[in-house]
């Protein structure tokens, strides 16, 4: 292509790459190591992890689109403040909606919904992408990064809930009769409930990802 075409298809190869890249090669958690704190905190059970992922995706996409729409009006000197206001208001909205319609989950997530504001992924994408790109591309970028974040959260939560509580989505997977207290042989691994195990799991995921994706390995 020698001339830049004004209207490219909505899901062109370039646009699709915006979604797929952050899921693997540019994953916000495992490659950029952003948003780790919430990944540790909300992954004890699958349900809060999924709700958290959806919340982050919603906030990230909307914040990206809004910032992108405003990008030509935002004064450069206060752009960080403007971004923060956008993120903060979206997060407050998400928090209020959860409190009204998903009260039990919002209780489990407690302060971490509020802390989406400080999730470095969101600020990072606004600053690095949305400020310089059109709304549609920005929304795809937000979606991709949100999914990339969500996938890791769900994987970590899956193992932590299964091995730490013997349940998945609060449904019993490992039968009660297996447990030592009921005369069986099995015991939940309490370490999986505590935050350090999430870090170890994220480390294992990074290890697997790097051994599969060679280009992620830095040259000495």
């Amino acid at each position: 292509m020698s001339v830049k075409i004004e209207s490219e298809p909505l899901f062109s190869a370039k646009n699709l790459k915006l979604i797929t890249d952050p899921i693997n090669k540019n994953n916000p958690i495992t490659v950029l190591v952003l948003g780790i704190c919430s990944a540790l905190a909300v992954t004890v059970k699958l349900e809060p992890a999924v709700v958290m992922s959806i919340s982050v995706i919603a906030v990230l996409v909307l914040a990206n689109v809004i910032t992108s729409l405003l990008r030509n009006t935002i004064p450069a000197r206060i752009r960080i403040i403007v971004q923060l206001v956008i993120i903060a208001s979206l997060v407050i909205l998400v928090d209020e909606v959860l409190k009204a319609f998903a009260y039990d989950v919002s209780k489990q997530l407690s302060v971490f919904v509020g802390l989406i504001i400080t999730n470095c992924i969101i600020m990072g994408r606004l600053e690095a992408f949305a400020l310089g790109n059109k709304p549609w591309a920005s929304s795809l970028d937000g979606l991709g990064n949100g999914i990339g974040y969500g996938i890791i959260l769900v994987i970590v939560a899956f193992f932590r809930e299964l091995l730490g509580s013997g349940t998945l989505w609060n449904l019993r997977v490992i039968p009660e009769s297996f447990y030592i207290k009921n005369g069986g042989f099995y015991e939940n691994n309490g370490l999986f409930i505590l935050p350090p195990m999430a870090l170890i799991l994220v480390g294992i995921i990074i290890w697997i990802q790097r051994s599969r994706t060679r280009e992620l390995i830095e040259n000495e």
Partner: protein, 240 residues
């Protein structure tokens, strides 16, 4: 207009703040009734659980109406008493905020009592309590038999205790221990102790502490003692 000028920045931020403030105010006002409803339903559920009712609330198709029905069926009377055991008029016991009451001098505190009538015709007296765990507030409801001494059931909840450790106070296994415990010994108020290392079998004033949750257990013991203490006179008077 020059986008780098101070005037532009000033106008831009003012407009932004006004728009955002309006938006959030509208959202907050619009969602308030739903949020309030959730909080009330949760409180009713906690009260019902302390007498072993509303067990299948999780599976109810409409949680709010199910719990409201149960609550109006089971809870036949609710009132507030003061520290000398006299009923206080003009106080809605359901709306009493224990945090506010604890801040008042003892004589002015309103202590809510919920009376449940179970299917077998027996009456249970439910009292709410609020205390401090390791990371945040813990609260609960204790239901007493008509002798105002034996505990019929208990339910506890917490805001942010450690999962697997302090958070165990919210499990039924822990709460079941309280059934049949007594809070008076020869007319003297002794409350129920949460004993580290396990209570002796046959100890009617003690339950096992949560292993690994020492501070939460201690907080729970304090909450029980402080919470029940104020009702002493009411219990003594009602027994006669």
């Amino acid at each position: 207009m020059n986008k780098q000028s101070n005037l532009y920045i000033f106008v831009y931020s003012s407009v932004m703040v006004i728009i955002v403030a309006a938006l959030l105010a509208i959202a907050s006002t619009a969602l308030k009734p739903f949020q309030q409803k959730n909080i009330e339903t949760e409180k009713r559920l906690d009260i019902l659980k302390s007498v072993g009712r509303a067990q299948d609330a999780e599976h109810a198709s409409n949680k709010h109406s199910y719990i409201e029905d149960e609550f109006s069926k089971v809870i036949v009377e609710q009132f507030a008493v003061n520290v000398s055991g006299v009923r206080v008029e003009g106080v809605d016991p359901f709306k009493v905020n224990l945090k506010v009451e604890h801040a008042k001098p003892t004589e002015e505190q309103n202590l809510p009592v919920f009376v449940a009538q179970l299917d077998d015709g027996s009456r249970k007296y439910i009292v709410p309590m609020l205390g401090r765990g390791l990371w945040g507030p813990i609260w609960g409801y204790i239901s007493l038999n008509e002798d105002f001494n034996t505990i019929f059931g208990a339910t506890f909840a917490h805001k942010s205790e450690t999962p697997g450790l302090g958070a165990e106070i919210a499990t039924t296994d822990f709460q079941k221990q309280f059934q049949g415990k007594r809070i008076f010994e020869n007319e003297k108020f002794v409350s129920v102790s949460v004993i580290k290392g396990g209570a002796q079998p046959g100890n009617v004033h003690g339950v096992d502490a949560v292993s690994g949750g020492t501070i939460t257990s201690q907080g729970l013991e304090n909450m029980l003692r402080d919470g029940l203490e104020g009702y002493q006179e009411f219990f003594k008077k009602s027994k006669k």
